[in-house]
Amino acid sequence: MNDPDLSHLFDKARQAQARTDFAAQEYGFETRFTAQLHAQAARGPASQTLIWRAAAGMAAFVGLLAVWFILAQNPQATEDDLTAFWDSGQATYDMEYLN
């Protein structure tokens, strides 16, 4: 098969295609389609969307929990360090040295 043959085949295919009629399928399509839109809107978000939203919410919650945990740990750690430093007696030594 050469290029003109293929072009000729396409010409004939286009002619046949122009006669194709989908009136039966098109009939009432907009009614079926809008009914489907209404039904989907009434059902609310799809379960998949809800799962994604829940996952995002959960991730944000875990992130906040982690931040809070770190922030809550640090003052305690600092306080523990200061207590240990005081108990070691080094502070007394430093005070004497300074005086």
């Binding site: 098969m1 050469n2 046949a16 006669r19 989908f22 399509f29 389609f33 839109l37 989907q40 809107a41």
Partner: protein, 214 residues
């Protein structure tokens, strides 16, 4: 999920540039209403453009179920994406660009399945004029040509099939195909060349198979 496009004020810039301000296109009011979430108005747009959408989708679907599903998919995408329609081009252009992209997605999704189904083309085989050999010889011949082209095109890679459908069956120019697909013009030309080479090979193979079966 179909999220209604709500909470957006009707955009006064939504108009067809092809028509002057004083005579807005017939779909202008419907587009504005649909953008604010009016499903009935969107139904009006579906009624206006369904024939064009069905004609495009029919070049990719192989039976009536696929055709209806694909048309629905296109209009659902249009409904969801209405918020992105800025009115710089006519609504029809925007919709058809979206339709072409949805058809390409459909081709890619169904590629594996359709390679096994080259013998069935229910969309054309059922009730197409000239299909049962009745009618003027040229009509019968043209219908057979359409079936042959469609059967061979199912064997092409999605990109090749897409480019040939747009160039040869929809009779778009290279520039139009480039705009619709987002490919460069050179890319379109190269793909079309390769697609035609492959198609010729597949048509010959199908003819040989048919001859040996007869």
């Amino acid at each position: 999920m179909v999220a209604p496009v709500r909470g957006e004020a009707p955009d006064s810039s939504v108009r067809s540039p092809a028509t002057p301000m004083s005579t807005p296109s017939p779909d202008h009011t419907l587009v504005l209403a649909a953008r604010s979430g009016d499903m009935a108005a969107f139904g009006g747009l579906v009624a206006l453009y369904k024939t064009r959408v069905f004609a495009t989708a029919a070049k990719y679907a192989r039976n009536h179920h696929e055709l209806e599903d694909l048309a629905q998919d296109i209009f659902i995408k249009a409904w969801k994406g209405l918020g992105t329609f800025r009115g710089e081009a006519p609504f029809e252009h925007w919709l058809m660009r979206l339709a072409v992209r949805a058809c390409f997605d459909f081709l890619r999704r169904n590629r594996t399945r359709r390679e096994k189904e080259i013998s069935r083309d229910a969309l054309i085989e059922s009730g197409h004029p000239g299909m049962d050999g009745i009618g003027a010889p040229e009509i019968v011949e043209e219908t057979e040509a359409l079936l042959e082209v469609r059967r061979a095109m199912t064997l092409l890679a999605p990109k090749e099939r897409h480019v040939l459908t747009l160039l040869e069956l929809e009779e778009k120019t290279v520039r139009e195909v480039a705009e619709l697909t987002g490919w460069s013009e050179t890319n379109v030309k190269v793909r079309a060349f390769r697609a035609r080479q492959s198609l010729k090979k597949y048509i010959q193979r199908l003819r040989q198979t048919r001859l040996s079966n007869d």
